[in-house]
């Protein structure tokens, strides 16, 4: 029977998908959640409680770091959007043919290179003995070497750099699909450049803006390398706390709770972003 055979084919196709999602995504996250609810009361003795979450709330260092990570990520997202939007518009609407392909590729290449290499590059540029410091001394603008590494501005530079592609690709895609005649029609009907940007270009690009912002925010929130390597001693990042709970302090219960809080924040922002603009996850992800 053909239906039996197609049923068999269906189950054979479904199996790998289910195994992948259940064993590597669903069960680990359920497991992590359960671990986060465990309170160690003795050697290999545990009770179920919200104690780990209480620790988070009672320790200002933890929730300060959490809040700092969140608003730094939001700032990085906004900055990436502001820097990336004119570039995307330029690529999508003001170039064509070979120039367009080349400039688009030039935006892609840094993404293919390991984040570690990119961050390393910024370290060489920004540090006390680095290229910028030497250049400024050479110009006579400063007297001695200056340290530009290990501060929040350095983290921001690195985050924006690392995320740029994820903003530019969806923006170029949506802006490319904007019919030029809509912009011309706006002009023809008397609109100024700013009015066209506000009433035609931005509303059209909204799906791209949303998907770009969501991805950039998540990447910034979950970033580990950039804050660790470019940030100073006191520029803590929440992923750094998770790492130290797991690897150096071996407190998996608290680490899991932290992990869940980070996941919760990231999901919340994604959800709110999608709801506010009436987009669906599937459509948004297809953009990027």
């Amino acid at each position: 029977m053909a239906t039996d055979r197609s049923k068999l084919a269906f189950w054979l196709l479904l199996a790998p998908c289910l195994i992948w999602l259940v064993t590597l995504i669903i069960l680990p996250h359920v497991g992590m959640f359960l671990v986060s609810l465990r309170e160690k009361v003795g050697v290999r003795e545990y009770e179920t409680s919200f104690a780990n979450y209480a620790v988070f709330l009672n320790e200002p260092l933890y929730w300060n770091t959490f809040a700092r990570t969140a608003y730094m990520s939001i700032a990085a997202t906004i900055l990436t959007l502001l820097i990336g939007f004119p570039i995307s518009y330029y690529i999508a609407k003001l170039t064509r043919g070979r120039t367009k392909t080349t400039s688009f590729l030039m935006c892609l290449i840094p993404f293919w290179v390991s984040e570690l290499v990119r961050t390393f590059g910024w370290m060489i540029l920004l540090r006390e003995t680095g290229v910028f410091s030497n250049f400024l001394q050479y110009l006579g603008l400063v007297n001695g070497p200056i340290e530009m590494l290990y501060n929040d501005a350095a983290i921001m530079t690195g985050l924006v750099y690392t995320s740029m592609l994820f903003m530019v690709v969806p923006l170029v895609t949506t802006l490319d699909s904007l019919d030029d005649s809509l912009i011309e029609a706006g002009y023809d009907l008397g609109a100024s450049g700013f009015a066209i940007l506000r009433e035609i270009v931005i509303p059209h690009a909204m799906p791209g803006i949303v998907s770009g912002c969501i991805v950039v925010f998540m990447l910034s929130l979950g970033n580990y390398l950039t804050p660790i390597l470019l940030g100073g001693k006191d520029s803590l990042w929440f992923t750094g706390l998770i790492y130290s709970q797991f690897i150096t302090r071996f407190n998996w219960e608290l680490g899991s709770a932290f992990g869940f809080l980070l996941l919760g924040l990231s999901s919340l922002i994604v959800f709110v972003g999608l709801k506010l603009t009436g987009q669906s996850l599937g459509k948004t992800m297809a953009q990027s």
Binding site: C17, L21, I109, L116, Y161, G222, L225, F246, G259
Partner: protein
């Protein structure tokens, strides 16, 4: 391209200057990393001490080049092995998923599709710790129950492969589905009509159509695996892939040998990236 909107000269030039600055910003860190790979100094920083290839081919300490640095070479091989398995697994599951989501209608498809996309929005470090916690729990349980050792479920290369596979599969699925959607099912029907079996028709007609996308997905998987850091960091055991080795070196203070490795990585990943784009673009 819009030609019809008149703009002031000043605006045009400042816009162009901004775009130029942006591309300098994009290129600067990478260019710097590459340039210092040739600096005849033990620190990757100014002043410029002259041109050398020692950081590639040198054999005398402290000028030990990449090609004679055994820890780096070893981790390069480790990364290669991991990337290979991740890419094979991801392309296989991604192809199955593509057929599942493009060709089949079933109850709960929408939910499964969202689940399939989830790995994209889970931060990599969380994927890493959740898999770490889960596999250790399973290992503890099995060891308690059987009294045997289950070292393969402890941090190590197998977990690294699984961790990277868990989210790279989503990318592979998206790339391959996009191509399968463009496939005209009547070609397969024609093959069936000409007497092919169902599987024969898929193998003779559909899979060859998908090959470019599968290769592209494989290349993307290799690239993502090679440069992955966050997930790998939580799951790594004693054999470290390249990014982890480089990270440890960076924390300790670096020599230009890292620039040399980076230069090689930049060249190889740019080439692979271009190749995957060309494969995806072909017969679009």
């Amino acid at each position: 391209m819009i030609t019809g909107i008149p703009q002031s000269r000043a605006f045009k030039w400042s816009y162009r200057a901004y775009v130029t600055l942006f591309f300098i910003y994009l290129a600067l860190p990478l260019a710097t990393v590459c340039a210092f790979a040739f600096n005849d100094s033990v620190f990757p920083s100014l002043p410029w001490e002259g041109f050398t290839l020692d950081w590639f081919f040198g054999t005398d300490a402290p000028y030990i080049g990449v090609f004679h640095e055994s820890p780096i070479l070893r981790s390069l091989v480790t990364s290669g092995v991991v990337a290979f398995w991740v890419s094979v697994l991801a392309v296989f599951v991604g192809t199955c998923n593509a057929f599942l989501f493009v060709r089949h209608e079933f109850r709960g498809k929408a939910i499964l599709y969202v689940l399939m996309l989830l790995p994209l929005i889970i931060p990599g470090i969380i994927l890493g710790i959740s898999i770490l916690v889960f596999s250790s729990t399973v290992a503890n349980f099995l060891e308690d129950a059987t009294g045997l050792w289950f070292d393969r479920l402890r941090p190590g290369l197998i977990l690294v492969v699984l961790g990277q596979f868990s989210f790279i599969t989503t990318f592979a699925t998206l790339v391959i589905s996009a191509r399968l959607q463009k496939f005209d099912p009547s070609l397969e029907e024609a093959a069936l009509n000409l007497g092919a079996t169902h599987w024969g028709a898929v193998r003779a007609v559909t899979l060859p159509f998908l090959y470019p996308a599968m290769v592209a997905a494989g290349v993307v998987a290799v690239l993502m695996s090679f440069e992955n850091f966050n997930t790998t960091l939580m799951l790594v055991g004693s054999d470290a892939p390249l990014t982890i080795t480089m990270f440890d070196r960076l924390k300790l203070g670096s020599t230009p040998v890292l620039n040399a490795v980076s230069l090689l990585l930049i060249v190889v990943s740019a080439l692979l990236g271009l190749a995957s784009l060309l494969l995806q673009k072909r017969d679009d």
